[in-house]
Symmetry: C2
């Protein structure tokens, strides 16, 4: 059996959901379907999740949110009509939303989470109803009833080990299970949402728990590309890649897959396939445990903006046992995690993602470093990007860094930082944000143009 997850654009409209039904029909192994909330139908459209946030905020701020509720219901109604369903399912959804709006509003975050999670939950009910209506025996299954227990960390829930045993029983359910992504339940029975990419996480967990032969992840692209097609013209399609490669690429800016989502599949050795709902016959990209890498040592190049550097200088720093540890401790106290920490003799830079910093935190960090570590100098610099070459073959190929640095130099990109040395499958460069596109293009040219491959 297979677990198939359909992302927001794949379930955004009646037309899309019909494609989903076709895909399910075409392969009887597709037994568990994980769905997102309806996403954007066109560039300027608003996702249902965002409509639900507006609804929740209106309710919290003014106590009155009927208008916002109607906007949400209109989306579901339009889909239901398009799918030829009667009004019963819309009534179910309306009742559900009105019930959620009655929930305790004192804990804003919790209230918001309950409403956000309804996007996936109600879409699953709707899609199950549609599958039933066309004779596919669709069955909506609620995460609570299935025993998808998670830790009580709103917005970053982690699955509890016991949940796997519960979810295993889904194998025995008759028909096509339609399961909402994005959230689970704490042992106290409260909805708790996963991190960004939450529906991917749900799909991956279900695939792992049911020992699926494949976890299919349907999106709106034919495959994962070797570089961002918005920047590099017509980039190569990746046919097969390893979990490690996918993780490194999504960490460094590939938005196809949230890296955390791969963990359950990886841990339970379930292969993953990225496919296109709009072109299901395309082979897609397989993500597996191992692959051969004869042709090209580099499989993909990612680029991500939004990094900052905390620069710290102190004479004889390298003689001071515990300096690095104390520096990281200060960041930890401020709940800031770091990406890399290149170090000289008398200086260390800590590279972090901007989104972790606020003006207040920056001030706190600088002040603590200055006072507790008695440094000669400390400052935060922004505007960095990381460009990362990824590939299983890189470690065994001489001269990757020479080719990469030469390509960057030819493109006039100043290399501020190089991260090589721990991961065997990646080589990262810290550069200025404004150089990101030309860095990506020049590296792509070096490692993927025919000229290079033919050499």
């Amino acid at each position: 059996m297979k677990v198939s997850k359909f992302g927001g654009t794949s379930v955004a409209s009646a037309e899309q959901i019909k494609k989903v039904a076709n895909i399910i029909q075409n392969d009887p192994k597709r037994k568990i379907i994980v769905v997102s909330a309806p996403g954007k139908r066109f560039e300027s459209d608003i996702k249902v999740t965002d409509l639900l946030i507006r609804l929740a905020e209106a309710a919290l701020n003014t106590g009155e949110a009927e208008e916002e509720l109607q906007v949400v219901l209109a989306r579901y109604e339009e889909i239901a009509i398009g799918l030829g369903l009667d009004n019963e399912i819309v009534e179910v959804i309306e009742a559900d939303l009105r019930e959620r709006l009655q929930l305790n509003r004192e804990h804003h975050e919790l209230f918001l989470d309950q409403l956000k999670a309804s996007g996936e939950d109600n879409n699953a009910k709707l899609i199950a109803a549609y599958l039933k209506s066309i004779g596919l025996n669709g069955k909506y299954v609620n995460p609570k009833e299935a025993g998808l227990w998670v830790s009580d960390e709103p917005g970053r829930a982690r699955i509890l080990p016991e949940a796997y045993e519960n979810l295993k029983n889904l194998r025995a359910v008759d028909g096509v299970i339609v399961f909402p992504g994005f959230f689970g339940y704490s042992k106290e029975g409260t909805i708790v949402t996963f991190a960004r990419g939450g529906s991917d996480i749900t799909g991956s967990i279900l695939a792992a728990a049911t020992h699926a032969e494949l976890y299919e992840n349907f999106t709106d692209v034919d495959s994962v590309f070797a570089a961002n097609p918005k920047i590099v013209e017509n980039p190569a399609k990746i046919k097969r890649m390893t979990y490690r490669e996918m993780r490194e690429l999504s960490y460094a800016g590939f938005s196809v897959f949230h890296d955390e989502a791969l963990m359950p599949a990886f841990r339970h050795s379930v292969p993953v396939c990225i496919k296109n709902t709009n072109n299901p016959s395309a082979p897609g990209t397989m993500i597996i445990a191992e692959r051969e890498y004869i042709q090209n040592p580099v499989i993909g190049i990612a680029a991500d903006k939004g990094f900052s550097t905390i620069y710290v200088r102190k004479y004889l720093m390298n003689r001071e046992l515990g300096f690095g540890r104390r520096l990281l401790q200060i960041l930890e106290e401020e709940e800031v995690s770091y990406e890399h920490m290149p170090s000289g003799i008398d200086d260390t830079s800590v590279i972090i993602r901007n989104h972790q910093l606020t003006e207040e935190k920056e001030k706190q960090i600088i002040q603590k470093i200055r006072e507790q570590l008695e440094v000669d100098d400390v400052f935060i610099e922004k505007g960095f990007a990381m460009v990362v070459l990824v590939g299983e073959g890189m470690h065994n190929t001489l001269g990757i860094s020479a080719r990469a640095t030469t390509a960057l130099t030819k493109a006039g990109v100043n290399i501020e930082m190089i991260n090589q040395g721990s991961s065997e499958v990646s080589l990262g460069f810290g550069i200025h944000e404004e150089d990101t596109d030309k860095a990506l293009r020049s590296l792509y040219e070096e490692f993927f143009s025919m000229k290079t491959i033919m050499q």
Copy 2:
């Protein structure tokens, strides 16, 4: 005025000490002379410091050390005769050594330190006597009497701030002060020795305290070379370099100067000159605060063997706030300091110097990492070398890393680690030890051969 320090080979024999006297005579500004213990006169010779260690060990182990004592005295006597001094100075030295041998032997380390320090101390007395005998008004000054107060950390003493005030008074002393290097006194009056390169530290401290216009460091080479002359044929001489450059180079294997020794001079802006006792008219190498760097962005290339890597892998490590801090904490508990810490998403390597590890510590570290951090994998790999390019101009020059990685690749050197990103004046490569010489030669060829410079 100038402070001039003479190393072991510069004061190893009567002949050498006569050169020192000539050097002092040639410049009346040379007011404070810091001396080492007599060093090697020829390749297979034994340094007096090593003879003193034998003496101390014999006394500790057998209680009887007359033979070893006579060997030490014979060295001083030979020098005294060669300098035309009568036996009085040898008797002073003999009495001093016999007195030290009577000291409390319960604290082995302290007893050893007292005897080791006598090498410099008695040589200073001898040289002062010689200077007096030739009419140069030599004056032996003892560190205790001068107020060279240090922290009570045998083998790694640090100067106490108050000491600077005391030592300032040396400016007012008439004649040529001869001051023993390598040790100071704790506030309790005990001899405490400095780290490796201790006489350099003494010289640097005195130069800083007396606001000398120059700190001269006399050795047996004409200058600092851009690369190790034992590996690179006829390397370029460095005329001027900055403190930072010298520190980076000595950290990474240049043995001319112990990096810690530069601190006092650097902090008090005293320029340093490395000169040759055997060829004092050569200009030597000046170490200063700033320099122009128009010709070559790289000033020197250092290589150092003896590094190990602790490799740690854990899935989703980068999501675990505090992981890096806890890893460093374990090393800190074992009193192991780290050099670099390159990190991937799921793995981190910590690069450390081998000499910090014992079999016992390795086991401890591995076990603690495994148990406390619950990692998927951890192991220690040995046999790494660091090759470091140093130069003030590097940060402003595009393509340094491209040229360096290309040169290494051409030489068939696999780059295991790149450290770039914090220090503006250095770029380091982790490689396998067996590649060290070819790496150094290929980088030298790239950055220093005429061909390259002429381009």
